[in-house]
């Protein structure tokens, strides 16, 4: 039983023409399960919403249901108000530091090479040091200090 199953699974995909269908070589084929998982996730979430739409009780609407929830009162002002500029600052700082993190990954992977380690370490020390200066400036100026309005 195990051997027949074994040999069954060891079969190559029938038809040489279809052999290219699954990107036979290299790491690219590892991304196929990711794509499949993505499709399943989308189908699942979509099916759930669709099912709820179909199965959900259908009630009549009334103005109270349609209005925004503000603890039982009629909503006071329009929803969109200007926001503190700190959110913008957080987002832009996130972009800049995220790029720094992205640079750290190939460095970390490359660090394994014994011969270059000191050199790589000094390089990255300079890089992180410069960005640390930036961070220190941000903290000193209280740019992400939310309590300071």
């Amino acid at each position: 039983m195990a051997t027949t199953l074994d040999s069954l699974l060891a079969l190559d995909f029938p038809g040489a023409a279809l052999a290219g269908l699954f990107l036979a070589t290299g790491d690219l084929v590892e991304y196929v399960p990711v794509l499949v998982m993505l499709i399943f996730a989308v189908l699942f979430a979509g099916a759930n919403l669709g099912l709820s739409f179909v199965l959900g009780a259908k009630g009549k609407t009334n103005p109270v249901k349609e209005a925004a929830y503000e603890c039982g009162m009629p909503p006071i002002t329009d929803a969109h108000q200007r926001f503190s500029v700190k959110f913008y600052l957080v987002a832009i700082l996130f972009v800049l530091f995220d790029i720094e993190v992205v640079f750290l990954y190939p460095w970390a992977v490359h660090f394994g090479e014994k011969a270059l380690q000191t050199f790589l370490f000094v390089e990255m020390l300079i890089f992180i040091g410069i960005l640390f200066l930036g961070w220190w400036y941000v903290i000193r100026k209280g740019a992400v200090n939310w309590a300071q309005e």
Binding site: G20, L21, F22, L23, G26, D27, L28, Y31, H80, Q81, R82, F83, V85, K86, F87, Y88, L89, A91, I92, L93, F94, V95, L96, D98, I99, E100, V102, F103, Y105, P106, W107, V109, H110, L116, L120, E123, I126, F127, I130, L131, L133, G134, W135, Y137, V138, K141, A143, Q148
Partner: protein
């Protein structure tokens, strides 16, 4: 198969980009732009540049577009305000800009081809394409070391600039 996938991802990127520039709602535009970045990441994966694909999603779709969304929500842009600033000459200017772009980039590409940047068939046969993080690390900290260090200065400039510009509004 790679061609099929390339067409699928590239086509979706193109379609998302077109949808992004034709929406009236700025948030919808931003979302379609995110979709375009995913399509582009798919193209990178098909080209076996896995690291670049991951970084594309991580930095562009995950950080820069979040920034765009924050700005859109912060400024509370509405359709009516945007229409007021549109002039009837915009479409003509747009077409001119597009033509100019195509011409200039075409000339740049032809110059590059003449300078021998693109490998010919013989070179392509022996070319080793490695999109793995190890290869990128080796290149980044070898050949492009100076560019890497300068990037840190660029980022520092960005940080200082952002804080200075917003500090004026905070205080």
């Amino acid at each position: 198969m790679t061609t099929v996938l390339f067409v699928v991802f590239g086509g979706s990127a193109l379609a998302s980009a077109l949808l992004a520039v034709t929406r009236k709602n700025p948030v919808a535009s931003a979302i379609w732009l995110v979709g375009m970045f995913f399509g582009l990441a798919g193209v990178y994966v098909v080209l076996e540049a896995y690291f670049v694909a991951a970084v594309q999603v991580l930095v562009y779709a995950g950080a820069i577009m979040v920034l765009f969304l924050f700005v859109i929500m912060l400024l509370d842009l509405r359709s009516k305000q945007l229409d007021l600033e549109a002039s009837p000459r915009m479409p003509i200017l747009g077409v001119c800009a597009a033509v100019l772009f195509v011409v200039v980039s075409g000339m740049a590409l032809m110059d590059a081809h003449d300078a021998g940047i693109f490998p010919d068939a013989a070179e392509r046969a022996t070319l080793v394409l490695d999109g793995s993080p190890e290869a990128i690390g080796a290149d980044l900290f070898g050949r492009w070391l100076l560019a890497f260090e300068v990037t840190s200065l660029l980022l520092l400039g960005g940080i200082l600039g952002a804080v200075i510009l917003t500090k004026r509004r905070l205080t």
